[in-house]
Symmetry: C2
Subunit: 592 residues, 2 copies
Amino acid sequence: MQPTSSLHALRKLLKERDLDGMIIPRADAHQSEDCSPNDNKLEFISNFDGSAGLALILADRALLFVDGRYQVQARQQVNLEEFEIHHLHDEPLHLWLRDNLPAGKRIAFEPLLMVNSQYESLRTSGCDLVAVNDDPLNTIWADRPAAPRGVVTQMPDEISGEPSAAKRARMAALLKEKGVDYLAITLLDNIAWLLNVRGSDVAMNPVAQSFALLKNDGEIEWFVDDAKLHQLDSTLLNSVSLQHHDSFLARCQQLAAGKRFSLDGDTAPVAVRIAVEAGGGEIVWQPDPITLVKANKNSAELEGYRACHIEDGVAWVNFLAWLSHEVPLREAAGNPVTELEAQEKQLAFRQQCDNFREQSFSTISAAAHNAAMCHYHSAPETNMAITTKAFYLNDSGGQYFNGTTDATRTLNFGQVDAQRRLHYTAVLRGFLALISLQFPQGTQGHQLDAFARRPLWEMGLDYDHGTGHGVGHCLFIHEAPHRLAKKVNPWPLLPGVIQTIEPGYYLEGSHGMRVENQVEIVASQPGFCKFASLTLIPIDLSAVEISLLSEQDIAWLDDYHQQVREILSPLVSGDARPWLIEATAPVRTQRA
Amino acid sequence: MQPTSSLHALRKLLKERDLDGMIIPRADAHQSEDCSPNDNKLEFISNFDGSAGLALILADRALLFVDGRYQVQARQQVNLEEFEIHHLHDEPLHLWLRDNLPAGKRIAFEPLLMVNSQYESLRTSGCDLVAVNDDPLNTIWADRPAAPRGVVTQMPDEISGEPSAAKRARMAALLKEKGVDYLAITLLDNIAWLLNVRGSDVAMNPVAQSFALLKNDGEIEWFVDDAKLHQLDSTLLNSVSLQHHDSFLARCQQLAAGKRFSLDGDTAPVAVRIAVEAGGGEIVWQPDPITLVKANKNSAELEGYRACHIEDGVAWVNFLAWLSHEVPLREAAGNPVTELEAQEKQLAFRQQCDNFREQSFSTISAAAHNAAMCHYHSAPETNMAITTKAFYLNDSGGQYFNGTTDATRTLNFGQVDAQRRLHYTAVLRGFLALISLQFPQGTQGHQLDAFARRPLWEMGLDYDHGTGHGVGHCLFIHEAPHRLAKKVNPWPLLPGVIQTIEPGYYLEGSHGMRVENQVEIVASQPGFCKFASLTLIPIDLSAVEISLLSEQDIAWLDDYHQQVREILSPLVSGDARPWLIEATAPVRTQRA
């Protein structure tokens, strides 16, 4: 079988340049979780469209490295006569290169798509790494989509809570303190936060592809396609030095002589390091300081989160009331509600909210065993009926003009068997144990994660994902740096930090369940913090073994449901109100 | 006021050698927790006898750096007209040197007493660090105690569970795997484990001061004073190359050319690095691999722990029965039992055990507010009465021929007020939450620590120490590397690992309480582990608010007490048996 034309063309090009191979990662220059289509070189070359992975193209072999989640999908999507599938973590690329290629092979890489820590590990492979500064796929990717030109909008100061100038002054002072001249900002959400702008290059990712260079006097250069900027007001534009998007690296090099640049070794392209060093500058390796400052939300941002969760809660209640009504009726009529129909209906309810912009991530609308796949997204060929006989899991959220939401509910419309009841009860107990916790200010996520797992651990079970993540303020749904997870996370949890709490349980081919609230961390007793729920959605207790809940669990549920009922009942549609009242009744009443 | 003669003499000597100052740490060449008196140079020069700290002696200033525990004690013990007291952690020595001395000052240090990580941080201070290879205090410490010559004994293979030759072969294979030629062993418990010997140089620390060099073919050189070895049998002595204790560094240098030495950067003297590098060898920095191998106890060692805990449990029950009987009577008679009397009586009961050798650490026998000091040791001037009006805390353990014990009980002989009841109940609930946990094999200590703290956290309280530590097998009471603590501990918890579980609560000037069991980690459901108690001592429930315990808490207590009763009641003295039966009665009975 002949290699596909793209692979053939790339190999020809490598040969012309006297290169033995090339690394093609699933990455853009900002290490974004969601790539824009024109940046998805890995998909172009391999046909694999997962969210992580990389290809190594050699003259006579092509290898695709993907993680555990994607071993099956990769084998379905790529041509296995062209590509060998390898494991991204078990067989790291630098070790594969070291063990399988003779030393000194010339391997090309694009330094805009690789961060310093990856680059340093690849340097131990014995290969001769050749930085390719033009975009080699430009010549061979015939139908390549254009780079997005999503319009950029201003975030009003009353929503951001702090004018951009004040943020720049704060960050500049931090740079001075560290003896740094320039901060090279390559993370798109950090640029958006600093400038109080939001973009629309990639759906559900309200950021604009660009770079920025902040000087330690507060001056900023913004490297962005100015075709996107026509809606911005002059106050911002006059305070920023606009530069061509493509001139970022050259400008770093030009400014570098004798200067110290702060660079994030795990997120910034190694291309920036190369440019600064070529210009005679020095790198100060540290996490982008904006990442931590941005995570501690100010009071306007917190107000926004709280307000948009009320709108989102109304949409959820209207949706769940509709679903609870429809599922048994439509099932009986032989025309059941499906996953896709449900998620469309949910989106319609969200679109009724004044401040709703778009979804904050691809909805997971999963019935029965589809919910056992953590990253399932419904498609016509997998679209299942939602019935009274199996759980239905919905994980969805919205980008609102004043905040971002992310919540999961697992719903029972009939009877579930004893095993599923025990599993769901364990997941809920873990959720309650963590969300009701009071902990010393500054505690770190890995110290708390196990509270959400203990009820599953007692049964010899666990779930293979983190327990919670940050949520950006009208930014990314997964926001660094705080995480609640097994893995060590060194960032102290402080008032104003936003997290999700989302334990789950998944039994392949059978069922999956997860309960997720978004929370803010608030001060409580002196020196201590608590989680306060932002999410306002009833938690389904119909599949819970109430006798396994503690008094503390029940008290939390009753308090929470009272809060949900009091806030939302004046706001939901008339049909949904009786459902809400019943769904938020105290546990004792529900049990009786 | 004139400086003391020792300080004067040291300054004279520094001046003669053209040195601007000298660092004197509280350390021996093995970074032992307990120094032998002849190694305690810090006490000689400063009069401070705490277990951690260091002095910096300059021509015109003398500084003592101690941690938070010792700020008060240091001010009581040292002459404050000679010494300034500084904080060991808040004001690290290398920063003090950098900020307070002009660059290039010649500061002496003894490279046998400093580890590589300390040395590397001091190198950033701008000082000229001068290694002093002779022992400068030899000439000025007139009444210096002699180095100990404690006899070394053989540990039989049936107690160690593995012949020394087999251990050496296992470790040698690990060295080969890493491409290492020699392992320089400077940790005394690792030498004792590898050779199956126990020493007696320092009370309660059954190790022999020595060094060892293991080659990757299993050959071993032991650098030890042979006056200690007369009890060892010829099989061991013939399999080991004995060397003069003082020739260790010279021998490392002699062997080094072209060889790779494994060295532990956090525990091995930097003197070894200097010697190896001077001889043309290369250092491979890694934790001493024995530390991890030793922590996973074999079945003979585990049998030994279990057996000695039965003997220790008998001694505890006899002691507690006696104490419970005596405290109210003697209080009424106006001649109360005191802390010192209690700990002597307890030692006498332990001395009745067949396999008891000595205490495993200095007993904490603390009544009333004395127990609020975590590291309290009774002395005639602080010795308090044990009464029916306040808690009594006892933290003690034994070195037995087949294992080592460490346990704490907090005892109530009368009535305690509501606040103390709530505090004690919270401590006990934390203890129960952690000790009853099932967790995935390989979980790390920092993931579990918070279970023991949650009931205190709920009240806005906490304790300022770790939750648990390893216990050596007839070795150190604090054994690396596993810890249950807030601080990240990267070592997976696996079956065969020994830990303590010991939450507490301390209110200065008022009361202190702690409950501690020693546990072994055992396999449970597939992929999961549990803690199994080694400690067999009734837990005092008379001050517990039973209504705050969960059903799971009560079930654990009843199971535990049944086990204690069944194992110990045939073994305790006649008078103690009724007390044991009552003290181990099921919770429901006790409440009724």
